[in-house]
Symmetry: C2
Subunit: 304 residues, 2 copies
């Protein structure tokens, strides 16, 4: 089961974190951008080429100490189809380097449409007699607003292709409570969504007690993290919001079980922009990312 | 305001419908697929080339009688980055032919990430000194589970670039009620989401009384369509679920105001697969699509 592989990566590296690859052009050292523009001009192709070089450098620097990457689809789509090509190439490169890849797309739809997303991101696409993995990630973030019709077809593909999903439960943003905290029959929406994850996950059991249906729960809501950890014993958590969004190590401690498993904490800007914060030479951006990843690991392990 | 252009297209063609471009390879006449495979092999590029040819034929056959197309992103993503390139090219072709383009992506995220989706789908992406429209659609479907943080950045970009959004309110699928029908303080989630559309839409007023923040409401829920039409006087509806999903002309009549405006009804499979249903020669797939689009128009206008 796919999330078993993530857990084994966490155990191997002794690091329950994931590096978010949200590569805005502003984050990329100028020499990389300049070289790409020299070859392709100030075009979407040029931006996409710069991002791929930057991502490969980060993956090379992180792959032995961080078990997973989470490319955020929006930052690739904003550079059009060349950006999406870079997303595909980034996923392939990270997998080749042994990393678990969570494509952060928050996809959602129903019927044959969600099957199309499932095929593209979590399975294979049939073309004539060929079966081709279009994106090739290990897991995908998804949104459950549409109900079970939008989730069960994904679970089915996950079972067949050994992949996983993370369902949005309690997001990290300030206004997440506008809907997610509202009580339905006395129970907040996020808790109902969490219970659905437990239920859907029964179809994808894992050997470490966690299913292939994980949940996204923000680091900015420590009380809900602890509450959900207790209520959802088989649901693995993907936790955004550490660092730039204000979540600290103490805030995320409640996401973990007594064995220090059950969650993976994401940092995007903290790692991507470490070179700017550190003030090191731009050429050392990957070294700075590695130093920040180690600092984050120690910060979080210190709070467990 | 972007939805004014959609309304003007509906008035010009006297046709409140949109053709959903959800091009599964199975829907495409074999000669088109064979020619693409002959050039590119049974690859994602081959599939993407076949889809582009097929889409252009449909757009040519529909552009004078149907005001809008709605390409569903999932069916392009399933063919990887070549599929996404075909999505971009399809959008550009439909716009060149004077059609309003709704990219059906149901995107959702927060902060700088939703800004990236907004730039890519509804605005422009900055690359060096260039500002490039990456996808170039007129409107995007979005999911409001994350609250206002996930919507307001989109509204801001819509104002600057004369584009619009359609927020999922009550989706057409059988299990949409699992969350959307549940009462919060005595009011179902879908109605709360609808009221938020009215509120967000105040920032994008249009000259026909409808704002740039529309709502997705399924044809399969006629009672809720009528209820929401009355409750949301400034919110334009995108209505999926006509035809293949079971909604008929009588079911969607309640989506319209007394002037016959206020909604656009989508048909995807009905139009795309008309040639199969009609049993005409595969070469006449676009003609069959046109005949079905005219039949659908008359069917819906007949019920108003």
């Amino acid at each position: 089961m796919a999330l078993d592989r993530l857990i084994e990566g966490i155990k191997r590296t002794k690091n329950p974190t994931v590096a978010g690859l949200d590569p805005k052009l502003d984050y990329i050292p100028e020499p990389i951008v300049r070289a790409a523009f020299a070859e392709y001009g100030e075009t979407l192709e040029g931006a996409a080429a710069a991002i791929l070089t930057y991502n490969k450098g980060l993956i090379d620097a992180l792959c032995d100490i961080v078990p997973a990457v989470k490319p955020q689809a929006a930052y690739y789509e904003m550079y059009g189809w060349p950006g999406v090509r870079t997303l595909c190439e980034t996923i392939a490169y990270a997998k080749k380097k042994g990393m678990f890849v969570i494509t952060d797309g928050k996809r959602n739809d129903i019927g044959s449409t969600i099957e199309a997303y499932a095929a593209g991101h979590l399975g294979v696409t049939r073309v004539g007699n060929a079966e081709i993995p279009a994106f090739g990630g290990d897991a995908l973030t998804v949104n459950g607003y549409l109900g079970a019709d939008g989730i069960l077809p994904l679970v089915d593909v996950c079972r067949r292709f050994d992949t996983g999903i993370f369902v949005l439960v309690k997001t990290s943003n300030p206004s997440s409570g506008e809907l997610q905290d509202k009580p339905i029959d006395g129970e907040p929406v996020y808790r109902r969504m969490g219970k659905l994850c437990e239920q859907w996950g029964e179809q994808l059991p894992g050997k470490y007690g966690y299913s292939g249906v994980g949940a996204v729960v923000g680091a900015t809501w420590p009380a809900q993290l602890s509450e959900l950890r207790a209520a959802l014993p088989h649901t693995f958590f993907l936790v955004p919001g550490y660092g730039a969004q204000g979540g600290g190590a103490a805030d995320v401690a409640g996401a973990f079980d007594k064995d220090g498993l059950g969650a993976v904490i994401n940092s995007s800007r903290g790692i991507l922009c470490a070179w700017k914060k550190e003030g090191c030479a731009p050429e050392d951006y990957a070294g700075a990312a590695r130093r920040e990843a180690l600092r984050m690991r120690d910060d979080i392990l210190g709070a467990l």
